[in-house]
Subunit: 455 residues, 4 copies
Amino acid sequence: MASPQPSQLDGPAFAHIPAPVKAKLRPFAIDKIQRIYQWMETEIIPREPVMDAQLAAKPWGMPALLRELRARAKEEGLWNLFLPNTFKESPGLTNLEYGCMCELMGRCYWGAMVFNCHAPDTGNCELLAKYCSEEQKEKWLKPLLEGTCGSGYSMTEPSVATSDATNVGIRITKKGDDYVINGRKLYSNCLWNKHLKFYILMGLSDPENPNPWRRHSMLIVPADSPGLTQVRNLTVLGYDWAPEGHGEYTYDNVVIPKENLILGEGRAFEIAQGRLGGGRIHHTMRLLGQAERAVELAIMRCRDPRFKPRGKLIGDFDSNIERVAQMRLELDAMRLVVLNAAETIDLFGPKAGRKAIAQCKVLVPKAIQGIVDECMQIFGGQGVTQHTPLPGIWAYARWARLADGPDSAHRHQVGRDELKKAVEITKRHQEYNRLAKVYGEKHGEKVHMMPEDSL
Amino acid sequence: MASPQPSQLDGPAFAHIPAPVKAKLRPFAIDKIQRIYQWMETEIIPREPVMDAQLAAKPWGMPALLRELRARAKEEGLWNLFLPNTFKESPGLTNLEYGCMCELMGRCYWGAMVFNCHAPDTGNCELLAKYCSEEQKEKWLKPLLEGTCGSGYSMTEPSVATSDATNVGIRITKKGDDYVINGRKLYSNCLWNKHLKFYILMGLSDPENPNPWRRHSMLIVPADSPGLTQVRNLTVLGYDWAPEGHGEYTYDNVVIPKENLILGEGRAFEIAQGRLGGGRIHHTMRLLGQAERAVELAIMRCRDPRFKPRGKLIGDFDSNIERVAQMRLELDAMRLVVLNAAETIDLFGPKAGRKAIAQCKVLVPKAIQGIVDECMQIFGGQGVTQHTPLPGIWAYARWARLADGPDSAHRHQVGRDELKKAVEITKRHQEYNRLAKVYGEKHGEKVHMMPEDSL
Amino acid sequence: MASPQPSQLDGPAFAHIPAPVKAKLRPFAIDKIQRIYQWMETEIIPREPVMDAQLAAKPWGMPALLRELRARAKEEGLWNLFLPNTFKESPGLTNLEYGCMCELMGRCYWGAMVFNCHAPDTGNCELLAKYCSEEQKEKWLKPLLEGTCGSGYSMTEPSVATSDATNVGIRITKKGDDYVINGRKLYSNCLWNKHLKFYILMGLSDPENPNPWRRHSMLIVPADSPGLTQVRNLTVLGYDWAPEGHGEYTYDNVVIPKENLILGEGRAFEIAQGRLGGGRIHHTMRLLGQAERAVELAIMRCRDPRFKPRGKLIGDFDSNIERVAQMRLELDAMRLVVLNAAETIDLFGPKAGRKAIAQCKVLVPKAIQGIVDECMQIFGGQGVTQHTPLPGIWAYARWARLADGPDSAHRHQVGRDELKKAVEITKRHQEYNRLAKVYGEKHGEKVHMMPEDSL
Amino acid sequence: MASPQPSQLDGPAFAHIPAPVKAKLRPFAIDKIQRIYQWMETEIIPREPVMDAQLAAKPWGMPALLRELRARAKEEGLWNLFLPNTFKESPGLTNLEYGCMCELMGRCYWGAMVFNCHAPDTGNCELLAKYCSEEQKEKWLKPLLEGTCGSGYSMTEPSVATSDATNVGIRITKKGDDYVINGRKLYSNCLWNKHLKFYILMGLSDPENPNPWRRHSMLIVPADSPGLTQVRNLTVLGYDWAPEGHGEYTYDNVVIPKENLILGEGRAFEIAQGRLGGGRIHHTMRLLGQAERAVELAIMRCRDPRFKPRGKLIGDFDSNIERVAQMRLELDAMRLVVLNAAETIDLFGPKAGRKAIAQCKVLVPKAIQGIVDECMQIFGGQGVTQHTPLPGIWAYARWARLADGPDSAHRHQVGRDELKKAVEITKRHQEYNRLAKVYGEKHGEKVHMMPEDSL
């Protein structure tokens, strides 16, 4: 057994990082984690009320506050930290290292935006880098990386089950050198925010193709395209989620030049497959940070000397002591799940991480939903009002259970993979049975292997 | 991001090891894991029915089968693998590496016994090595390590809450050069098994000591001590757990020579504290192996062509597909929890691992209890009978929730630790508030930090 | 066994009423249930979108639509149905019969307002009727019953744990013939709604009284009292809950004439005790109606031919079939809990119903929260947006877990009552033991009763 | 509102009966409940240890103790209480009244046997009475009612999914005037118990019949039929369940005279349908009694002055106060579910009670499994040993989740029924939409009904 190391990275920036991960962080990552932590503590979290005030006044747009902070963060080199090292701008962090930072950014709902590390721009950057021509990259990727604009990823539709993407039905038709889009979209980011410059849209371009995986194309849709209208902003669990928002759109003969086609006609699924990687678990990373904020508030309330139901502090009730413990243990377990997925991708690539990613998506938001729900209950009636950030945190966790399709869809995938193992397991079991018979005879016992009558 | 490595240790021995752990295994550990796997598959699991038959015929004793297997395993060097490298016999494995093996051993309930890696002998070895004189080690530790005898750890008592060890009440009184024990004990291992040669017993030797942590002593109690009687074997959830068993004992003037006192009078808590380390999570490691067996059986049943309720395979029902997925995802998460605790101890010692160990104890048995319950349900009526090993696996998981005190005791410890953070959190929050006011003024907004009215 | 009756009240108005309750409904109650159902189906539910539009335009006030509907309902005698028969205006319904109607009203969030059966006016009416002088009743109760004004019940405070009402701290001081109020209140109904004319406020009038249950008084606070300010509307889980709303108030030397004191100084707890009755479970009754709406939508979605993930209707997935069944079974069980509490109050009075009422408060909102959460999941991403009423229904259920103090407070009360039974149980058990010994001797067996060593 | 009645049936025999049920009990039922309660308290429960001793000595057979008690109970007229009033021996109790008694009998696992009210004899009596000829009744029903013999119901099989009864595969072939049975059966009652005289067996007599519901027949199989062998007793969750037991059988050319055919060839499903009624929920009734025993023990332990972890009684921990409350509230809710099903059958017949019965089967055993699990945890390590009856109670609840097929099968049935309502719901919703449009126009609002885009 290795002898304990002198330093365990004891500062508060590292308080929740599991010991084996701590042991693996490289010095420059440690430095970045420390600086992100500091930014969050002194520059970002204490500005939440100002941000709330600015957004209340003008929800759609890049608030002045955010603009300033982004400029400073960029200057300090805390920018695009998520970028894989296939980018020349990449800081060269592993997903594991970035995961530790991403959780810290997540402590404030809009924290990642300060460092240009927010969804869906992160995933969009990867997609554009991987599948676009140099011209396209110059025009669309570059400003994203520079932070001069924002983007959306437009996939979900009303009236069809787009959790199964083969059902995407918005029509893309060729008209001369252009593509014309007609139909409706849900979610993606709010068009009313003028910072947003384009959507990456998946649509149905070749409905008659016998191969259902070749019927769809991806287009870059400029936000100011005539015919594209945002009908309204979608509230999600009662919140408007400004400044990003979620939209409801109609496409009425929206004309897109052919230069905006990504990769080629009918190749949307190929692109979507390639949009795999760390980006798929960034939400769960940030959720950890949100949940830690919630737990901190609950702990603070538990020891607040002003609250004494039946003469005891809230945290003097054994029931609440156990509740806080359960939160801590579950939340730390969820962090292990997230960081394991990140490191699996680091080590063996996103395909090898498929199950670990599904594990994040199915387990983490659900667990955090439960943890934050318990935090609200500890706060009593106040816990569900705007007096605490808890309802908003809860809503983020709840939404995340649907973010890439409902968790049942992920379970189905995992379950089908798992059941394929039946062949190998059965074969192995038959070998147990054969040997059991041999061993039984040797020992003079007529035996059978459990389960009785197994194949 | 590191590029994927050529080998991911693809064999079935490594199928459930998380990618980041795989990447860390040293060649000689890989070799041992592979060999343990092979032993389990071909030597041990297929002998379960023979073992069952031998135990049915003669439950208390070391079955002939086990004796043979132990001799062979020892010869092959698959012996005492759990031993930390403070022992000269240690194979030098980390807790993490051993954890991977321990899970495999756990695939058969008595698998660890084959490799002399079973509880409570593992914990007892560590205790004896750490706190005993050379004479004591020669007499009691050596045969344990050689496997010529077994031992018990005797702590629990009826009629008092020994989950709080200060309540241990069995009386140890000095009489000349000897100690005399009077009282009752529960659990520990079955005295009727003649392989068992001694207990390490905690008792009350100095009840008047003002310091409650100095009132107890630990003695080595030879199994054949006159006055020591096993009243009956305790069934646990209906099972006798032969050949180890759980006993109910009376001590009626049991005389123990002073040479059998460990460390010194009144030092039982000091010793118990030192009985910390990987041993405390071996049960959860083995439970993973048991749970994997359960899940394998459920998967096999799901695809068994003979079972077609309403005309479909059990595994063709989406509900069961989702259930199997949920099992897989939860079980894999529990493995992350166990291996994280093991590695934390490796890196920073058992004290640093305290929370990670509590996490194992609180989360893992409960989750596995649920998983195995679901497996039984998939098997229908047969699933709760001796036609499958499932009820026994369930019982092991259920018991483990009580193995070192009920999980509520661990939650209390964690919860109290967690609530101590309130001071630091509140202070940090006050700083947020101070800064928020500053930033607010700067932006011309009168703002307040959530939660409203916070300290 | 009674032979089945010819009629089971088969219409949709009675679809969810348990058979034993159906058998007990009196003809005039059946008629009222039928009429309420019809109103909900044709007059109220289809007006939800209009109501939403009117509230969006002007949240605080009695919307024109509601005014019209209330006038018509009053004319048709569907008014004040909740009133116990101690009122001359009472329709003479039992709590059980009213419960069936109340669930139907609950199908629309503002349904009960149409029939002047909404909280907190219902509870306030009972309180005023029971404890006020004739002059007070004429001035405050009469308009409430006539529906010309609304009222609030003001209890909760920030910065103290008012779930334990002895902590209520807003100061009431005597000044000449008047009372002066200083402090803050949370919740209660929105002052900005001009329909609201007064609050019933609980405050601290005699802090030095040695008896903590005699320190508080209740006052009727006119809404237009100078010094009473609503700081803001409290959102609850992101919603404003217009037109009722939840407020945050400051009382700055609010002067209340002594005529507005209810019952007498120091008698607030006496009054609060008397505010017991069916009113305490009206929220759970209405929640059943809300939950049925949610389940209906989920069922509709399950069979909506446009949604076919992986080529099947959502309701063709066995997992969803089981989910819908689980919703149905749990929801029906919760209805049994609610109606049992109602009938217990009918038969033996509110004191006898204490445990049944706690059962409603602890079990029902939690179960419905889970059911509606599942409904949202069945809807996918759309399920959490304003495209469905589901997030609002969820929020209502979640809030109800806090409505009269967090459910832990109710559990504590029930748990303490339950543990008092230990004396009787132990005594009974000792008698078992005595008899067991007698019987054992007779049968020649030396036996002991489980649990081993019991008292 | 009815004024509270003078008597609430306050004695301990009525302590758990919901108020509305109390109000409905007829005097002679009240008398019987009181007497059953007394019997349980003084004659039966205190004899559990003697019974355990007798069964340990001789598990298979009618223990002497039970024989005596049965004779006395019969003499006192506490016999066959379950019998519907279609029997001349019927005491004329409703299912609801019997439910109250059945719970009390369930307080001891073998309590119902004392009163000849145990499964499966109760169900078998109903079946024989309904479908057998007078000769058959004289030979098989009469002794069952008199209590001179016992019976089994033989349905489950290994290697096929008999939860779907169309899969029953044991072969019945005609040979001259006889039927010959070949195959295997599981469960049913133990043949080794000589009190058992016959099985009612369902088998496959006409495999080629195009109608799968006409392929099976039911035969009365005498226990001493040559060729019928019990291979072993099935343990269920580690217990042998003596004296009834669960068997594993082989039928090797078992010849049954044609007189033993029930109703006619191919009519097994018709008979099984008719075996509907109160009998299907007797297990859940008894489970309530078992669970009350468990809760009593937990309460007793909570206040046992000898157990003081960390210096407090177990019941002084708020966490345990809440746990006990939760048990009480859930258990009482489950009683409402059971009694509602009983009364529904009373009022409108078993067909109308189908959903209520499924509700019992799905919700009750699962809830009680959880409650008893918590009781074990409160007892700590002792709670899972034979020092308490808790593991046995737990096992009974767990088994009950499978007793008539796994709960998923019941959920499927309910879920499919529920989803059929989609047609009606959709139609109703369309009418909402139509009206909403009308109302919207009237109010000058262009509105739409939620959910957006609904059919």
